[in-house]
């Protein structure tokens, strides 16, 4: 009995030792595992835990405002009212949405889409159910909010262009950020064209961010830290709001462009292009129907014709030809030529716009009355090379470089240009056409304004610019004889102020100040000899797209030129009847408001906006 008992104890002890050893081994395994997780892989798991709990949210910075040269606001940010639904806060989402529908118009389709998202998302995730709702609806919704559980109003930001269509081409517009790859996160709007696009970097500011702790369901538990963003910088343009809106109004619903330059600085005071579009509509997202209307319009509202439209300069090119001739010493300022109404060269007849002819005219009179024959002959005498050289000095074929999207440089043709582009040799007959600004030569309204400014300033090449203060310290000068310049400027004065000048009806008189200029009427069709011998059809009898382009370039005041203007009306008819009156209106307005047009601003070109929301 006793022996047996001892044996049981012995067996137990032996087995207990085995079992204890096994247990110790298993404890070792646990501690090894603990060591692996908490010591060897600690950093890795710490990172995973951090990833779990921390979310980064971006806070968009208010976009910088755009103001005109006097500091008037052109583009700003307004609160935009949104409607948010938090499904978990409303017991019956469908009923709540139906009640919202009674206040704000939301389509049944949209409601269905919202309901689908409610199904899919976690119940605390807010869903936007209406955007850009009116202030009236917004306040009514706030009033009704006790009966709309889960519906919240939210104030966002939208871009407002105070002058709408009048500044669309210059300011451009913004759109919702599309590319996920954009470097700056937290950005909501980005410039799509115009200054909005050109100065995106300055306007956008720096988005802030906040790191928030979220729980396993993604709900924000608390904010860990917040990095404040920087509001976008304010952009001050050289634009003068009065001149810009006047230019737009004067062009009306014709297809055209007008550019006004501050001659002394090169600042762009107005850059008009018609017809235009409403950037406010484009910024919130335009619907397909309206977009199709814009793109299908034959007057191309989306195109900024002031910089992207290329036209033959026509008679407005004659000053350049005259200067080229005087500069080359081919003729003197007293050179005269008899105009019988046409000019024959190489077996081809070149007509003057005045069928009866101008008779014997000198250079000044030829400019004043825009005699074509005088310049056909002059062009042939000096040759294309000399014309090309002088024309380039005055901005033809030059990249002006405002920086706006779509700026085109036009064409100033010559021998090498023709060989390179058309593979043929230059023909003297083509020189004859260039003499009156027709043929291959193409220029934008901006380039015509630049030419005018350089003439009026007697050759100062002030850099055209759109940001106030972006002035070149000592601009280049075109080397030109003062006497030569006198003849040409006298001709331009006569155009407007001489009773027989082509723009005499558009002369101005503001406090003794007058303007000078040059008209141009550009043929866009070939007039056959048959039509010519019978009766040349007037513009009024032609379809719109075959009518002449009307051009006027001018400056004022004549004695001390400050403002240069170029006006172009596509298929508008005669330069003197259609374009010159517009030039008249613009320069009159410029002279009338003279005192407030500071040409040398003291304000820096970009200033940081202190309050971006207003």
């Amino acid at each position: 009995m006793i022996r047996k008992k001892v044996t049981r104890q012995e067996i137990f002890n032996r087995r207990a030792v085995i079992m204890g050893a096994g247990q110790l081994g298993l404890f070792g395994l646990l501690i090894g595992r603990l060591q692996y997780l908490q010591l060897r892989k600690a950093d890795e798991y710490a990172m995973l835990a951090e990833d779990n709990r921390v979310n980064v949210e971006f806070l968009s910075a208010p976009r910088g405002r755009i103001v005109d040269r006097q500091g008037n606001i052109l583009a700003r940010n307004d609160p935009s009212y949104q409607l948010i639904l938090i499904p978990e806060q409303s017991a019956d989402v469908k009923a709540v949405l139906r009640r919202v529908q009674n206040i704000v118009s939301i389509s049944d389709n949209a409601i269905e889409r919202i309901l689908k998202r409610v199904e899919k998302n976690a119940k605390f995730v807010p869903i936007t159910i209406a955007d850009n709702i009116s202030w009236d609806d917004f306040s009514r919704l706030n009033l009704e909010s006790p009966f709309l559980p889960g519906v919240q109003t939210q104030v966002g930001e939208k871009r407002i262009y105070l002058y709408g269509e009048d500044m669309a081409h210059m300011l451009g517009y913004v759109g919702a950020v599309q590319a996920r790859s954009t470097q700056q996160k937290g950005k909501i709007l980005e410039g799509r064209s115009g200054l909005e696009y050109l100065f995106e970097e300055n306007l956008q500011g720096v988005a802030g961010n906040r790191r928030v702790e979220v729980n396993a369901y993604g709900r924000i538990v608390r904010e860990l830290e917040r990095e404040k963003g920087k509001p976008g910088a304010q952009i001050q343009t050289t634009l003068d709001t009065n001149l810009q809106t006047l230019a737009m109004k004067s062009l009306g619903n014709q297809s055209g462009a007008a550019v006004v330059l501050d001659i002394a600085t090169g600042g762009v005071l107005a850059l008009a292009s018609t017809p235009s579009y409403d950037p406010n509509q484009l910024s919130v997202g335009i619907d397909d129907r309206d977009w199709a209307k814009l793109t299908a319009n034959e007057k191309k509202p989306l195109m900024n014709k002031a910089i992207s439209g290329l036209y033959s300069p026509g008679s407005t090119f004659k000053m350049v030809v005259a200067l080229a001739a005087l500069d080359a010493g081919v003729v003197t300022k007293n050179h005269k030529f008899d105009c019988p109404g046409s000019y024959t060269f190489g077996g081809r007849k070149f007509h003057c716009w005045e069928r009866k002819g101008h008779g014997v005219v000198d250079m000044r009179t030829a400019l004043a009355r825009s005699c074509d024959v005088y310049f056909y002959d002059l062009a042939l005498r000096i040759g294309i090379d000399q014309i090309q050289k002088t024309a380039r000095e005055f901005g033809f074929g030059e990249h002006i470089g405002l920086g706006l999207m779509g700026e085109r440089d036009g064409v100033m043709p010559g021998r090498t240009w023709k060989e390179e582009n058309l593979g043929r040799k230059w023909q003297p007959g083509e020189t004859v056409l260039v003499g009156i600004g027709q043929g291959y030569i193409l220029a934008s309204p901006l380039q015509l304004a630049v030419m005018t400014a350089r003439l009026a300033s007697r050759g100062v090449k002030a850099k055209p610019h759109v940001i106030l203060g972006d002035v070149e310290e000592s601009p280049e000068r075109i080397e030109i004889n003062d006497d030569d310049m006198d003849v040409v400027l006298a001709g331009l004065n006569d155009v407007v102020n001489h009773p027989r000048g082509t723009a005499f009806r558009s002369r101005i008189w503001v406090d003794g100040k007058t303007m000078a200029g040059k008209t141009g009427t550009v043929q866009v069709r070939t007039i056959s000899e048959a039509e010519r011998s019978d009766r040349v059809l007037p513009n009024s009898e032609l379809p719109w797209h075959l009518r002449d382009h009307a051009i006027f370039v001018g400056y004022a005041p004549v004695d001390n030129p400050r403002y240069a203007v170029a006006v172009l009306v596509e298929h508008g008819g005669g330069g003197s009847t259609v374009a010159a009156p517009i030039g008249n209106k613009i320069l009159t307005a410029a002279l009338e408001q003279e005192p407030i047009m500071a040409s040398k601003p003291s304000t820096p070109k970009l200033q940081t906006q202190s309050n971006g929301a207003s």
Partner: protein
């Protein structure tokens, strides 16, 4: 006066007989539970911490009350207790509440309890009682294997039907450990292991979908990172991110932000390891090792086979719960739903462990008392 002093003496000698080492380790572990549940609730005693404390006090009273019992009484009641719990398991099968997809709970009016949790004591009691009368000459005979096997299989089948695979396995291993300690020939264990391997396909087919999922994702948690594997991945992140010294009491992000499922019950260790780090975890495991060693020392000391097997069987059961829970939260075992003794929130689990310790204290106090034949 004389009666009074004799009563005081009785209490004093009773207190002197108690194993204070075991009692203090138990209370420390219980308080770790109270503190952990305070932290995991977001540093508040509601809703878990205060209840755990109350249960700990009740458990302590029960433990001491049981320690006061005579070991002979326990010996004599062993089969009755086993039978009662078995009947309760049948009751669960018939009237139990379904909770989280499993039928484990029996409503007693004042409290719900899980007979399957208490069954591990019943099995150990019944087996220890049985082997008290079986001597080494006969122990490995087939006829002496049948009854112990029935004692193990009957409750195991009932628990498996609830279904609760984790507890079933723990019950079975606890019972088999008693057989091993009693001296049953190793041949049976080898044969049993072989049978188990052979019957695996059958068992697999009878498992619930969530059980299969848990086992499959245990072997490859990334199989379903947002579903069943989520528990294991998040638990490992919690433990690992604690690093050497932990994130500090109350600062465990994984648990506080609810990335941890069952953070106050089965995964309480994860939260502890996250906040207390490697050092704290080693300390906690050290407490358990100390407690298990203290219990085995009692088993070596007691004179009867009944007490030896009873005490060591209960120690094995404690060890198994501890090991499976820790292995589970560290990603070494499938998620089977086993609580961490004394720390996890859960009344039945805590009270059952306190009862076990009461029994152990009783056996220790009566180390030299003979029972049975």
């Amino acid at each position: 006066m004389a009666i009074q002093s004799s009563r005081t003496d009785t209490i004093r000698s009773f207190l002197a007989e108690l194993n204070w080492g075991i009692i203090s380790l138990t209370l420390i572990l219980g308080m770790v539970g109270v503190a952990s549940l305070y932290s995991v609730a977001g540093e508040t005693i509601y809703p878990w911490s205060w209840r755990h404390l109350v249960r700990l006090v009740i458990g302590l009273l029960i433990m001491i009350a049981i320690a006061r019992l005579s070991i002979k009484f326990i010996y004599n009641s062993a089969y009755v207790i086993y039978g009662t719990i078995l009947a309760a398991l049948v009751g669960v099968e018939l009237f139990g509440n379904i909770h989280m997809g499993a039928q484990r709970w029996l409503d007693l009016g004042i409290a719900q309890f899980q007979p399957s949790e208490v069954m591990r004591i019943g099995i150990v009691l019944a087996l220890a009682r049985y082997y008290q009368g079986v001597y080494p000459e006969k122990i490995s005979k087939l006829s002496f294997i049948i009854i112990p096997m029935l004692i193990i299989i009957a409750p195991s089948v009932l628990v498996l039907r609830q279904p609760d695979l984790g507890t079933t396995i723990l019950l079975a291993i606890t019972g088999l450990s008693v057989l091993f300690l009693a001296g049953v020939s190793l041949k049976y264990f080898l044969a049993g292991f072989a049978t188990l391997a052979a019957s695996f396909p059958v068992v697999w087919g009878r498992l619930q979908v969530y059980q299969k999922d848990r086992i499959l994702t245990f072997f490859n948690p990334e199989r379903d990172p947002l579903g069943s594997g989520y528990h294991i991945i998040q638990s490992k992140i919690g433990i690992g991110s604690g690093g050497f010294s932990g994130k500090g009491f109350g600062d465990g992000t994984q648990s506080r932000l609810n990335f941890l499922p069952e953070k106050h019950t089965d995964f309480i260790f994860t939260m502890f390891a996250e906040e207390m780090g490697f050092i704290g975890s080693l300390g906690l495991i050290g407490l358990y090792v100390g407690l298990i060693i203290a219990i085995f020392l009692v088993a070596r000391e007691v004179k009867t086979q009944f007490s030896r097997l009873l005490v060591s069987g209960l120690a094995v059961s404690l060890f198994l719960y501890l090991f499976v829970n820790l292995a589970m939260v560290m990603g070494l075992a499938p998620v089977v739903g086993v609580p961490l003794p004394f720390v996890s929130y859960g009344g039945t689990s805590l009270i059952t462990f306190m009862i076990s310790l009461g029994v152990i204290l009783c056996a220790d106090r009566n180390a030299n008392v003979e029972v049975g034949k």
